[in-house]
């Protein structure tokens, strides 16, 4: 009984924590983010497994987590409001070569991040060549270049 409750609580608390921390938190994994991710998983794992190292417990936990994930994606498909609450919405951060300062500030993205992605994905080297840059729900930046830059 307890493993199921624990898994549900941990799932929901982590969901809230990461949702509140913002889109960009673990979007692009720097070496340090990777370490952070490992530490987080280790910290949570101790709380979940506790001293019960049985296979039953492990499988029960995994089943609970996977089931929750399926339930969540079903809910998201059914209700758009749930989808937005759980996954947020995309956000325009550059429009016709001009950064939208408020949006970038609030999401902790800077022009450098946008240019990074522009260089990597389109070989673009200046903001003027970007028609739109969108901060996607998963925290990545998508670039739509201007006609001339294509």
């Amino acid at each position: 009984m307890e493993s199921v409750i624990k898994a549900v609580v941990v799932y929901l608390v982590l969901l809230i924590l990461f949702r509140l921390s913002g889109k960009r938190t673990l979007a692009e994994v720097t070496p340090f983010d990777l370490v952070l991710l490992l530490i987080i998983s280790e910290a949570v794992q101790q709380a979940l497994i506790d001293s019960d190292n049985s296979m039953t417990n492990g499988l029960l936990l995994v089943t609970t987590l996977v089931t929750l994930d399926v339930v969540m994606s079903e809910l998201k498909l059914r209700w758009r409001s749930v989808d937005r609450v759980l996954d947020s919405t995309p956000l325009l951060i550059v429009e016709n070569g001009k950064p939208i300062a408020e949006h970038m500030r609030k999401e902790r993205v800077d022009v450098g991040d946008v240019l990074d992605t522009a260089r990597e994905t389109h070989g673009i080297d200046s903001l003027e060549q970007i028609r739109y840059a969108v901060l996607e729900r998963n925290g990545r930046i998508s670039i739509i270049p201007t006609e001339e830059a294509k």
Partner: protein, 169 residues
Amino acid sequence: MPASNKPRNNNDFARSLEESLPFQRREWVVQRIGWVVFALILLAGLLGLFGDGPLAHRVAASPALQIEYDWLIRRDSPITWKLTPRMPPKDGRYRVALDADWAQHFRMHDIQPEPASARLVDGRWEYEFEASGSVPIVFNVEARRMGSLEGSIRLGDAPPIELSQFAYP
């Protein structure tokens, strides 16, 4: 120029994005409130409101006995009860008794020093320590249950001292 390549106006693009600024603004507000809550949780953690810190610590005392313990504890996490007798041993012994109903909710790791004997006396666990002076006795235990745990410890025939602890999950 084919229709699909025609530069769309921004509203169209935003709509196709399913961007929603009103929602996004509410999200930012909620996130910032969340960050304040994170900070408060950190502060509470440092102060010991979740156990293990200055606010969690408590001392209970009677003329016969003083007990230092944490009243905010966590389940399955080691804690101590430090008993300091305030009266001399009787017949070369200290007798410490715990409510059995309450004490069974704790996993006893060890008692320092080891008691000379342990006895079960109607509803109590009694430990006897050979002693010629007053020295602290430390119980290293761990709560097996979460929630409120209330019981008492007595030294010899002196009135019992109530221990009230709350165990987080």
